[in-house]
């Protein structure tokens, strides 16, 4: 045992997107926190794409913001291009996506964590998790320094026993030449943590000056200014474009000719890779008939010439990467600055975790982010925030914050992880959320600010801004519902002039706004609806136009919540319930769900099994009652 140098309420290992949120949450809630990182120069590093948000991920960022997290505010600040995706496909799937200045994002986040009260940021290689009687007692660094704490949050990203592979190049390392954490992996195994091995990858970075953009299509940001954070004050932003180009049959031929040299196929890559983030060589093998694949060339930042080649993730040797890129229009004279690579790493099997993100068998051990088998900065940050909050709530003796599948993408994410597990790096998608219509980019604050306030992470400033917006929405909705217009000639003439159909009977403005050709602005022009801010106007329109579908989803939620509210005691012995099928008993024992609702989502657990469980719970309840 090393030398005890300090003790903390909470220790966070890793200062990536999960670690930053976890440590900030704990420290902001007033707890003495240590954030340990391999390198102070790489806090909140974005080792892959230079962007934040995207489909479903934009919603995650909004939720983090509403709960009082940091990612949205920093991403707004580091943003060099903002787009709202999916605008033609309905409000529920609108998602914000920002191109971020990567080095600047790091600088911002470093400043934030370094200046956070109660938070110590240290460059440390943590070698050991210290556990006594299945309870966390601290960590030990390679220096022999021991830091005591009853809470440790693992946010180790891809750094556990990580290995970088491209071509025949193969070395132990994290991204960007950072050290891999080998001993910590062993220590976790010794403590009884089960690890899996996953793989992910990243494309090459190329020199902006070597590209001919005249042969590519320009992709500009939206003219309208938007922010992730519901309280952002940013009103002006210089935007830089991205560029679109395509592979060609020649590109594909070069890749095919060199497949045997790819780290993906020469036996060097061990881990399971994600299907949604395939290497270019995997794409070409799996989709043989596709004549071309698109590539986005994205700036890594304003003060660097490095450009990220999205769509070109590869573990081919460096010379092949250059050769095939040179067959792509606009990249004929490309100069590669860093090659793409595949990375293999250890991560925790998330089925070991409770919904609070605490380990089921090791008290005080939490885990968040890529080390839980996810992928993506936003997924990591969301988990980090929840782990930080729940670490504190554990110290406070409070029940953990568990967001419902109907409340937040973060809820869907964590429920999926701890209920179904994952056999590949898990990426959030809107299609994973069955109540997607309720979980929108535009209403993250309405869904979660109140929760964030209760937890203690919502500042007075945010709370004030939020309550003002909320009451403004209530006021305008009240006005729309209670203002009736009659089918007079004058009104019908107005409606016809707006391309709408005349009224047959009196209607309130809310009903009128449901018409697809109607907008709040037209209601203002025709019927003097009150002047309101654009965000409130958007809410009014969505709430009126989507009312029918929102009701449908809410009914489905209500039905599901009945099972959700039936809690399962932690000490239940599934194998003693002989009426359960063997498969169900095994699955239930592995997951140990909190509620009947969660149990019903485990694959292999049938409705009949849930029926048996329901009875078993009542038996249990009566036995407990008798004891007392």
């Amino acid at each position: 045992m090393g030398i005890i140098v300090d003790s903390y309420d909470v220790i966070v290992i890793g200062a990536g997107h999960a670690g930053v949120e976890a440590s900030l949450a704990a420290a902001r809630l007033g707890y003495k926190t240590l954030l340990a990182t391999l390198s102070l120069d790489n806090i909140a590093l974005m080792p892959c794409n230079p962007s934040v948000g995207g489909s479903a991920k934009g919603q995650l960022v909004g939720e983090i913001d509403a709960l009082g997290g940091q990612m949205a505010i920093s991403a707004d600040e580091a943003c060099i291009q903002m787009r709202m995706l999916n605008t033609g496909k309905g409000y529920a799937v609108h998602s914000l996506r920002a191109q971020a200045d990567k080095p600047f994002y790091h600088v911002i986040m470093k400043k934030v964590v370094e200046n956070q009260e109660n938070l110590d940021v240290k460059q440390l290689m943590i070698d050991k998790l210290l556990v006594r009687n299945d309870e966390v007692v601290g960590v030990e660094a390679e220096t022999g320094e021991v830091f005591e704490s009853s809470i440790v949050i693992i946010c180790t990203g891809t750094y556990l026993r990580s290995k970088i592979v491209f071509g025949s190049v193969n070395y132990e390392s994290g991204p960007n030449g950072l050290r891999s954490a080998n001993k910590l992996s062993e220590s976790l195994l010794e403590a009884g943590v089960e690890l899996a091995r996953f793989k992910t990858g990243t494309p090459a970075r190329v020199d902006r000056r070597s590209l001919d953009f005249s042969k590519m299509q320009i992709q500009e940001g939206d003219p309208e200014l938007r922010n992730f954070s519901y309280i952002s004050n940013i009103t002006h932003r210089e935007q830089v474009p991205c560029w679109l180009t395509y592979t060609s049959p020649v590109t594909h031929q070069i890749i095919k000719d060199n497949l045997v040299r790819s780290g993906m196929f020469n036996g060097l890559v061990e881990g399971v890779g994600p299907r949604y983030c395939p290497s270019i060589e995997s794409k070409i093998i799996r989709f043989k008939d596709k004549e071309r694949h698109q590539l986005f060339i994205e700036p890594e930042g304003l003060n660097t010439n490095e450009m990220y080649v999205q769509g070109m993730s590869s573990a081919l040797p460096a010379d092949v990467q250059v050769k095939f890129m040179q067959t792509i229009p606009g990249m004929e004279h490309v100069k590669m600055m860093r090659p793409g690579y595949a990375i293999d790493y250890d991560c925790l099997d998330p089925l070991q975790l409770k919904s609070s993100l605490e380990h089921k068998h090791i008290k005080g051990l939490f885990s968040a982010g890529q080390s839980n088998g996810t992928s993506g900065y936003e997924e990591a940050a969301g988990q980090g925030l929840i782990a930080g909050i729940n670490a504190v709530r554990k110290l406070q003796g409070k029940t953990p914050l568990v967001l419902g599948r109907n409340e937040a993408y973060i809820g869907v994410l964590i429920d999926d992880l701890v209920t179904k597990g994952t056999n590949e790096p898990y990426r959030m998608m809107t299609s994973r959320a069955e109540y997607r219509l309720l979980l929108r980019q535009d209403n993250g604050d309405l869904r979660l600010t109140e929760k964030g306030r209760e937890i203690g992470l919502v500042t007075d400033e945010r709370w004030e801004k939020f309550t003002k917006k909320r009451s403004e929405i209530e006021r305008v909705m009240h006005h729309l519902q209670n203002t009736f217009v009659s089918p007079t000639e004058e009104i019908n003439a107005k409606l016809i002039s707006a391309g709408s159909v005349p009224l047959k009977k009196g209607e309130n403005l809310a009903t009128l706004l449901k018409r697809s050709e109607m907008s709040y602005e037209k209601l203002q022009a025709f019927f003097g609806a009150p002047e309101i801010s654009p965000v409130v106007r958007e809410q009014a329109e969505i709430q009126c136009k989507y009312e029918g579908y929102i009701i449908k989803q809410k009914q489905a939620v209500e039905k599901a919540l009945r099972l959700e509210s039936k809690k399962i005691p932690a000490d239940i012995d599934y194998f003693a319930l002989k009426e359960l099928s063997n498969e169900a008993a095994e699955k239930l024992d592995r997951v140990r769900p909190d509620s009947l609702g969660q149990a019903s989502r485990i694959s292999g657990v049938s409705p009949a099994d849930v029926g048996v469980l329901m009875i078993a719970l009542e038996v249990h309840r009566r036995q407990e009652a008798e004891k007392q």
Binding site: Y276, M429, I615
Partner: protein, 460 residues
């Protein structure tokens, strides 16, 4: 599964019991019963003290009497399940029991699962542990039995067909979801026409399946047929011929309507429950009483009327009484005695009714019996009986799920026609998929995500 749902089921053993009981349990029980049960007194059920037998009628959605019944309202917690319970006792045999049950579903009850009343009784503190354990056994043995049934042929066909319909719907959803979740990939966008065509197609197929539910019920319960004819037209000899032809005669028992005898027999592969007036009243008497309510009820209970006529004689006044009485019913006109002379009434009947529903036979020589058999087959299976793989759903739970799926598909078609955005469109299609998945045992979400990656080259 959800205890808050209102559930209903027949609680008496199916088959020959003289009285059938439909039980409704849950918070909506009274409201459901109020819409279908009409007390003879004209008062609402809830105005009676709890546990009072109330005499009245169950009426269908068009207000027609289904059966005369006794209803009891047992107010929570003084009932078997400790919830609000309504029991409706009827005596009209399986046909009316099932009609009554179907009405409870229509008004919002959900089919009870095996052992569910007892389960609720336990969960609400009504029964003890030992009983509860036996319920757990029931739940699992029944679901094991249900599993066994599931592999049986008809279910197999249904499942196969549903999977086919689901696959088409799923493909549309997968395409929509891929476009939503990968907005910047070069995936060809979905067209509303394509979506509309697929959903309409699926809606059509589901409605065909629901039509097949009618056939399924007949196959399971028998086609309820009344045989009628004035004296001396050869009704008895036709009956005897049919009975002799039928080697699969199952049983003979006194029908639930005391006026008639019901025979179960199989004609041309169609199971038939043949109700005859013979035995209790003489036929002459019966015809005279056609105007009387009880005799009408006899006709009304039958789905099909087999009218027997004498082809050698012109239509008599009694014949006309019968022909008037059966107006609006499904009927087949059997012109008997073609062995004696050429029929002189076939032409008249063909003009007054559909010619294909007039069949000449000779009960004596059996000539034409095969035509009657084909007619029955056609009636039950429809003209499209091309293979044994026709699908007939027999299970109320499945029918119920499928009806809801059909409703969702209707909404989805409307959404596609109005070009509502994808996020709304997917909600109804998703629901239809989920409901159909409850029949086939498939889950929606993982399936969709797997398919996105299998079909589209997406990802950075």
């Amino acid at each position: 599964m959800l205890q808050e749902d209102t559930i209903s089921a027949v609680t008496t053993a199916p088959g020959n019991a003289a009285i059938g009981i439909v039980r409704i349990s849950g918070s909506d029980a009274l409201q459901i019963a109020d819409q279908m049960f009409f007390a003879a007194s004209g008062k609402k059920l809830e105005t009676y003290p709890s546990h009072t037998m109330v005499y009245g009628f169950v009426r269908d959605r068009e207000g027609r009497d289904i059966d005369e019944v006794l209803s009891v309202y047992m107010k929570a917690p003084r009932s078997y399940t400790a919830e609000d319970v309504i029991e409706i006792q009827c005596h009209g045999g399986m046909q009316s029991i099932r009609q009554i049950l179907a009405l409870t579903y229509y008004y919002g009850a959900r089919p009870a699962e095996p052992g569910e009343f007892t389960k609720r009784a336990f969960l609400n503190g009504r029964i003890d542990l030992v009983q509860a354990e036996s319920v757990m056994d029931i739940i699992n043995s029944k679901s094991a039995a249900a599993l066994k049934i599931a592999v049986q042929q008809q279910e197999g066909f249904l499942s196969k067909k549903l999977k086919e319909v689901r696959r088409k719907l799923r493909d549309v959803i997968v395409h929509l979801e891929a476009v939503i979740d990968y907005p910047e990939e070069d995936i060809e966008d979905v067209t509303y026409n394509e979506v509309n065509n697929t959903i309409s197609g699926a809606a059509e197929e589901v409605s065909v399946l629901l039509e097949g539910a009618h056939t399924g019920k007949i196959l399971k319960e028998g086609l309820r047929t009344a045989i009628i004819g004035r004296p001396n037209v050869g009704k008895s000899s036709l009956l005897n011929t049919l009975l002799k032809e039928d080697r699969a005669l199952v049983s003979e028992y006194e029908g639930t309507t005391r006026d008639v005898i019901e025979e179960q027999l199989v004609i041309g592969g169609v199971p038939v429950l043949l109700a005859d007036t013979a035995g209790i009243h003489d036929t002459k008497d019966f015809v005279e009483k056609l105007g009387v309510e009880r005799s009408r009820a006899f006709l009304d209970k039958a789905e099909l009327i087999l009218v027997v006529l004498d082809g050698t004689q012109p239509l008599t006044a009694d014949d006309e009484t019968i022909l008037t009485a059966i107006k609006g019913k499904n009927a087949v006109f059997v012109v008997n005695k073609t062995d004696l002379a050429e029929s002189i009434i076939t032409k008249t009947l063909a003009e007054r009714f559909a010619p294909e529903n007039v069949i000449e036979i000779s009960a004596k020589t059996k000539e034409g019996i095969d035509r009657l058999e084909s007619w029955l087959q056609e009636y039950v299976y429809g003209s499209s009986r091309q293979s044994d793989e026709e699908i007939y759903i027999q299970n109320e739970r499945q029918i119920n799920l499928l009806r809801q799926a059909a409703d969702s598909l209707k909404d989805a078609v409307e959404a596609a026609e109005n070009r509502l955005p994808y996020d709304c469109l997917t909600i109804d299609v998703d629901r239809a998929l989920t409901l159909m998945g409850e029949i086939t045992g498939e889950t929606v979400r993982d399936e969709i995500i797997n398919e996105i990656f299998a079909r589209f080259c997406v990802g950075k």
